[in-house]
Amino acid sequence: MTPIKTTLLAGFAVFALTLPAFAQAGLDDLEVAHAAYTADVIDIEYAKLALSKTKNPEIKKFAELMIRDHTAVNEGAAALLKKLGVQAKDNDFSKALLKGFEAKKKELSALDGAAFDRAYAANELAYHQTVNKIVGETWIPTVKNGELKAFLSQALVTFKAHENHAGHMVTAAK
């Protein structure tokens, strides 16, 4: 493994290990909704970065898919919040997600060509693995509102499909 790849993966590993602890720190339903929305927005931003840098058609296609699917999930979230008449609540976990994103974006932005493609693919896999674990193992079992629970369960189906797709992309980008 090259030093750059090692650094990138190690950096994300620390970030990923920190996230579940935050996620379990007693977020209420509205905070979970905010964090889920933020996680979606972040992946859309990663995809926009990929579209601005990559020339690889598969990476481009994947990035377009992330924008399409995560936008649709967030539209579902917005519709649910509107229906429930509530607003999502910002919280430390959402802030930690954004902080991690800013750091990763800086790393990815410094790369070009195949190096960028590999790093983007690896980040997409790791990001979806981490977020999916939190959604499936922490948020879905603990949220109290039944409709939010159903929403997260349905969103997780989409995110797991992305994780699977990202895994193939990592293999193809090697």
Binding site: L65, R68, D69, A72, V73, E75, G76, Q154, A155, V157, T158, A161, N164, H165
Partner: protein, 122 residues
């Protein structure tokens, strides 16, 4: 969809008897038809990144309605590229009426691991 035959001139008594016996039917459009199989509507749910049912056999003239139950937009697109529902958003449906006999493998063009088969018979 093949055109429905026009009604024949039947006496009211014979007409009533045939209706009761199920030999003729009144379609939604109200025209009488001869005793031919009615065109049917088949539903395919798109749920959890899968087409349900994954294989569907219909008769030529039948219609299919795909309904997307996932947040992610999907399509039902012929693997050969000769027909396509275009994008179906969450909670939306798309209706198609095949005009050819055959076996048609199809996919979601956004998520090509989603595969299904449509069989159109006489």
């Amino acid at each position: 969809m093949p055109a429905l035959r026009k009604g024949r001139c039947l006496s009211p008594i014979l007409l009533a008897l045939m209706l009761v016996a199920g030999l003729i039917a009144l379609p939604p459009g109200g025209r009488l038809t001869a005793n031919e199989p009615q065109a049917r509507l088949h539903n395919v749910d798109i749920r959890e990144f899968a087409f349900m049912p994954a294989e569907l056999t219909i008769r030529l003239g039948d219609a299919i309605v795909w309904t997307n139950r996932d947040f992610a937009p999907h399509t039902a697109t012929s693997a050969e590229g000769d027909w396509d529902t275009s994008e179906i958003a969450y909670g939306q449906s798309s209706r198609q009426t095949p005009t050819q006999l055959g076996v048609f493998d199809y996919i979601c063009v956004f998520h090509p691991t989603m595969k299904a088969r449509l069989i159109v018979t006489r």
